[in-house]
Amino acid sequence: MDIKPGSPYDINGACFNAEMYVKKVLKESNLKQVIDHEREIHQDIQSLHSDMQTLVYENYNKFILATDTIGKMKNDFKSLEEDMEMLLSKMDEITHTSEIITSNLHANRDEISKLSETHTLLKRLQFVYTLPTTLNKLLTKGDYEQVVQEYLHAQRVLTQYGNQESLKGILNDCNNIVNELMKILYSHLRDKDITGKELTKSVNLLLQLDEPVLSLCKEFLLHSKNRLFESLNVLELQVENLNQDMIEFIDLGSDTFFSQLCMVIASFNDMFIENLSKNDENEEIEISINQLNMFVEENMIRYLEIVQCYIDKNTSDTAILVRALDRFYRKIQAIGKLFSYKDFTLNALEIISSAARRQTKLHLAMLKAHFHDKLATVRQSLVSLQKLNDNGFATESLASLTSDVIEKVKGILQDISAFLEPEVSFSTNHALRKSISVDNVREGLVVGFLHYLSSAARSYTICIPCPPAFLFLIMTKMCLEYQMSGIGHLLQLVDETYEINKYFENKNKNSSQLSSEVELASDMHSAAQDLVNYYVRVEGLSISQMLKKSVETRDWLHSLEPRTVRAVMKRVVEEITSVDSQVGELFEEGMRTDRSSDSSRRTQMSRHIRAWSSGGTATNTQTFSAINRLFSERIDIFSPVQFSRVSITTGIIKISLKTLLECVRLRTFNRYGLQQVQVDIHYLQLYLWRFVSDENLVHLLLDEILSSSVHRCLNPVLMEPSVVEIICERG
């Protein structure tokens, strides 16, 4: 049977309703079930009944026990009351006695308190009296801190009662001891070997002893200065000895000088400035900061000077230099963080820039020396080499002067670009970059070197003794090569490597700060022109000399009938041939005017003779040649030399023939003398036309020589052209 607890059907519940329950049972159960249920309930009632009986019995027993106890208690309370009364009377007694005592003792209390006070005072006095010995003990133990504490402890009292005789002595003793201590501490300041920590401690103690801050500052800085000086001296010694590389030097500097300086600055800040700012003494802060400033500045400047000296003597290569400078710059920056009153990075940048400048200058000097060496080698081999024409000597020398040198420049550019590597700390500085790239490398190194090249090349034209003539040709060609490609190549290279354009984005690139390629090229070109002119002059003069000697030394008035071409003419032709082939090694053929045919050459040659045979007198010939000159296009004999084989050889031939003309005019000839000249001229005509740009020029000059010799002849009778030809063919 499911019965909810709390319902009226719950037999154990509080609101059980027997009637409803019976009704419900009767209603829901059959007879058997009712009977069973009735039995069940009956059993339950019986068990409950017996339980109740047991309970009642037990409680009854307990009640009886309680009644007994209460009875007993009644008796006890009667005795308690008596005791209480007794206690009361006793307490009264005590109060009374205490009052008596108090009144008795009252007189002595003040005395006792006074006595105890005196006792403590005495204790103190004893401390004071023993103070000197304690201090002494501590001092000898080296526990300076304790000394200071003890002293400060006593100091107030001592100063307060300092006028007392007895205390005065103590005070003096103490002061003496403290003075001694201070001496020791000051000596610490001066001691070189003391560590920074101890130093700081000493200074702190001194500060506690109320030493004047400013003089302490001074003392402290003085001491630090000595120490820094020592490390600086060590560094200076390194500069003199130069037995370390630059990185080691800088490291040494940062290990000794910088770490000391940092420590000084840090401890100065800790000890003085913070102390002072705690006390809000602005004026003194300022003064002490000033002192520190001066100190740091003085030392930094000296350090920077030493570094500068080192750099000025440095021989390490660029990579090491840059790495060292990098470290150096980082150090300086670090100092800047620690010491904010003055910025040394600018000075450092200056040093770096001067180092870069020096490095480029060194490179430039090396480059110059290198070029000079190459040139000397070429010159040397020119002297020792007899045959120039074979084995490509010319091109080889040329290459050694151009491409080799350019390669060298490239290497240097690469080398110096180490300064601008992004990982280098100072490479971010724009002004420095610009100064290195533009001023040092581009203008100083590359442009400077190119200027040097052209001026060095030029300088050879006034060199005494005159170097081998072929050298001028090689150098002419060299200048031309630079003009054509070398300069452009180098400038492009440097502009690219160093991003020169970056610095001139806004301005016109051809602004005055940058030397332009055109300018350099034209300079180089004019140098080449000077050189080639000089070459022509030198070669021309040397051939001239041969001709001149040959004309001057002969007695033309008493010549015999010519049988051969004079040997000197053959030598002249040989010489010109060899010069021409030398020139051909290096220079292009060049422009020629159209050549007349071989036959016309012959007729040209005999023109003069025809004029002669038809006319007959010397004056006629002169008139003829004057008219001839008038009608033939005026040919500039000394037109400027161009950079071609033909032009150069022509120039030399022109000078030589002009010389021959001048020599002939200074002489007087007899008939056979004239005929000899005629033969010589014909020989020259046969061989020289092939070398020149315009054979008319040769004809004109040779004609003029012949006409001059006709004019200078006492008995002008020319030889039969056919005979002349036979003689010339015979050689």
């Binding site: 010389t659 003309l661 004019h711």
Partner: protein, 356 residues
């Protein structure tokens, strides 16, 4: 040149020219011709007529031979000396002193110097710049000083150039800067100054100063110790003779031999040169002029660059002679082998620059 030159033509070839030094009022030049036909030879006295700006010649016959060099007396307008050669004498050169007649005609022979025993190649016979008694001839490797003060001629002294390879003088000139009797000669590449008082002592020399033969030299008329040389190497070099190791200035403006070099007698920063490249150049060298000394304290004109101020290319043959006029110091005469005489003026702006 900016203004056109005045031209005068001689119908014979010519290689001798000199200014008539004694005549400072007019611009007169003497030309000696070269013709193998002995009797054809003449001396032309060309005078510039300022009114018409034309040249008027006076022609004197010089019938003893072709003239190789010519000099005029610095004091006597009518005295000249020539060096000449004739076929008749086997082309050996002689030298003589002449007097110009009043009118055209034959030159009046004053003295024919007895030069034969000294050599056959008389280069030049010159007048002493101040003392008209003294003359000096350069013959082969000898120099002979004559005294012509009385009738006839006396040999005062001689000097001989010795050395291997038969050295010969090319030209000679009295040193106008020296108060003593100092005669300066050129031989091959050397310049030598002879002290004629003390019997051929060489006072000073410039040795090996050109790579080829020295054709001519001249003294700065206004600045002590300064002289100019030129030669076959095409260089004109300017010297302080106290420092013979290095020229003060060395220029190579011509492309062939330089035959003649002359300081302007008044404005010595101007130098005329003539060359067988057919050109005559006027070069301004302000830095080594006498004016430069005067202005040294002021430092005003010192920055003037050395340069060619005028180029004359109107000669069509080699030019062997240049001479500044003794009258108008701006006029430079030049003579080319074809007998053409040109009178050029220093360009106006250069004149102004010098004067202002």
């Amino acid at each position: 040149m900016s203004n056109n030159p005045i031209i005068y033509g001689v119908e014979f070839q010519a290689r001798s020219l000199c200014s008539l030094h004694a005549n400072v009022d007019q611009d007169c030049f003497l030309i000696g011709t070269q013709s193998l036909i002995t009797s054809n030879n003449q001396v032309h006295l060309v005078t510039l007529q300022e009114e018409t700006n034309t040249l008027s010649p006076q022609i004197y016959e010089h019938s003893s031979g072709e003239i190789w060099s010519l000099a005029s007396s610095p004091t006597d307008k009518r005295l000249i000396s020539t060096c000449y050669a004739s076929i008749e004498q086997d082309c050996e050169k002689r030298t003589a002193l002449w007097r110009l007649p009043e009118d055209d005609g034959q030159l009046e022979n004053v003295i024919t110097f007895p030069s034969e025993k000294y050599g056959t190649d008389v280069k030049v016979t010159t007048f002493h710049p101040t003392n008209d008694a003294y003359m000096c001839s350069v013959i082969d490797n000898n120099l002979v000083m004559w005294d012509v003060s009385e009738s006839g001629v006396k040999i005062v002294c001689t000097a001989v150039l010795d050395g291997k390879g038969q050295p010969r003088f090319t030209t000679g000139k009295w040193n106008p800067q020296s108060v003593n009797l100092q005669f300066v000669t050129a031989d091959d590449c050397n310049i030598k100054a002879w002290d004629l008082r003390s019997q051929t002592k060489i006072a000073w020399s410039l040795d090996g100063v050109h790579t080829q033969i020295i054709r001519d030299f001249d003294f700065n008329p206004n600045r002590q110790y300064y002289m100019a040389t030129c030669g076959d190497d095409g260089y004109s070099k300017f010297w302080d003779i106290r420092n013979s190791s290095k020229p003060v200035i060395s220029r190579a403006d011509h492309s062939h031999w330089i035959w003649s070099i002359r300081y302007n007698p008044v404005h010595d920063e101007l130098i005329g040169t003539a060359s067988s490249d057919g050109q005559v150049l006027i070069t301004r060298l302000a830095g080594i002029s006498s004016a430069a000394i005067e202005n040294e304290d002021l430092k005003t004109k010192t920055s003037i660059e050395d340069k060619i101020v005028a180029t004359c290319d109107q000669h069509e043959d080699s030019v062997y002679c240049v001479e500044w006029s003794s009258g108008d110091a701006w006029i430079l005469a030049s003579l080319s082998y074809d007998g053409r005489l040109l009178l050029n003026k220093v360009p106006k702006d250069e004149q102004l620059r010098i004067l202002l």
